[in-house]
Amino acid sequence: MSGLKTNNAVIRWIEYRLPIFSFLDHAVGSGYPAPRNLNYWWNYGSLAGLALVIMILTGIMLAMQYTAHVAFAFDSVERIMRDVNFGWLIRYIHMNGGSFFFVVVYIHIFRGLYYGSYKAPRELLWILGVAILVLMMASAFMGYVLPWGQMSFWAATVITNLFSAIPLVGESIVTWLWGGFAVGNPTLNRFYALHYLLPFVIVGAVILHIWALHRFGSNNPLGIEANGPQDKIPFHPYYTAKDAFGFGVFLLLFAAIVFFAPNSLGEPDNYIPANPLSTPAHIVPEWYFLPYYAILRAIPDKLLGVIAMFGSILILFVLPWIDRSPVRSAKFRPIYKQFFWIFLADCILLGYIGSKPPAGMFLIIGRIATAYYFLHFVIVFVLSYVERPRPLPNSIGEAVLKGGGAPAMGKAREKA
């Protein structure tokens, strides 16, 4: 069964008892055939994996030095920055690693939206991905609380108070989350416990994600299934090499931020120790939460605002059933393609609005952008019935081998 061929006696001995080498070979090696036409947008899955590993490794090192107590947390983080050997580097990697993790994952998600990677038979793969996003958001939020600066404290207060919007039981739930009558030491302790736990839950979800991926293999820029072996190439060495190149570019940019602008993505207010009696004038979340924050603030009703905010993510879970078009790739969906870019622009606009105070024009634009965010899914549903897709190529191989083939032809047609 396992096609592993090796002259190494040790590997043969292990493989016979625990077929781990053939398992790896089928997972990320030469035994895993991948579509031959994957472009660089397919690098972001492996990049997300790299970011997760970086976060876990630096996180464990930080945990060895951190103290989860309201009286010591802030000082212990400052001690990491000043006294611990390379503590500043480890913390800056962890801090900015979170941002880079989100950059990579957001690009990965929009890749999926553009090329229709969420469609049958990859619905569960997509759902697991959205679940990973939700877990990441929870981890990132709880990690942000740990330094116990002003932004940490007030982020914890505002986010836990979201649950107070739930009718009847809301207040009790918030007290239960806090372990007290306000955000305090019990809150910090449990956030630390969960912040350590959740990344490993993410690892579990990632394993399921990859498992589901390998059932049908990667989608591809054409969005059509491979007809046979002529449409595929082995993952190793072709995509391991391509991914390694992506790692290099990613690490260059990452290092540039870590070494030259480590605080550019954060809020300076978080270097003020938490003060439960004074709210900073402008509370803003980290950039990767800004679009959701804008949606929350766009709606003048507390409960509806919270519902809209959570709904903006939850709607992604059912996207495979909202978009009923049989054609996956936006390459062959002329109208969907335009709405995709409008949707992307809308999300970026929401992010910008989320960073501004909720008044005047910002509030009005925020409301329009929020309405459009949800309208997009209605448009996607309607489009799946009214849009006439372009003809699909017969096979990946044909498209690739015709000297530029269909993808290039697609581009020529766009220009015309």
Binding site: W154, T157, V158, T160, N161, L162, S164, T175, W176, L177, W178, G179, G180, F181, A182, G184, P186, R190, P276, L277, S278, T279, A281, H282, I283, R297, I299, P300, D301, K302, L303, G305, P357, P358, A359
Partner: protein, 140 residues
């Protein structure tokens, strides 16, 4: 994960109101929460009592919210998402209704601590308290 015994056992807070001048607002801590104490001038009381109840998102008369008209005692936590509204220190923004203003998401409270404008659904909460003497209170 509910509060442990030592958290629940947090005692009440006693406050001497003697040194608080008319028009002065002070903040004390009870159960880890800020308590706003406002020694209201007559103008603020009149303003609060002059408002028709129909104008209020969470209708409550000023009389229901105080034990003595000149002393407004409230939990200083915005009922939206838990920020501390501005208005306690001189020079703070007090919002369009002369009371308190929450900078997080823009809720305006009036001189009785009632929500008038913005996303907060409720008036600022009133803690349980009693006047132990004419010029001191026990909260809790």
């Amino acid at each position: 994960m509910n509060p442990s015994a030592e958290v629940r056992a947090l005692s009440s807070t006693e406050v001497d109101l003697q040194p608080v001048e008319v028009g002065q607002r002070i903040t004390v801590v009870w159960r880890g929460k800020p308590i706003f104490i406002d020694h209201r001038p007559q103008k603020a009381i009149d303003e609060a009592r002059g408002v028709p109840l129909d104008d209020l998102p969470d209708p409550q008369t000023d009389e229901e919210r105080v034990k003595k008209a000149e002393w407004l005692i409230m939990i200083g936590i915005c009922t939206h998402l838990g920020c501390i509204p501005k208005g306690q220190a001189p020079g703070d923004p007090v919002g369009e209704f002369g009371g308190w203003f929450c900078p997080c998401h823009g809720s305006h409270y009036d001189t009785a601590g009632r929500i008038r404008k913005g996303p907060a659904p409720k008036n600022l909460f009133i803690p349980p308290y009693d006047f132990s003497t004419d010029t001191s209170i026990v909260i809790g």
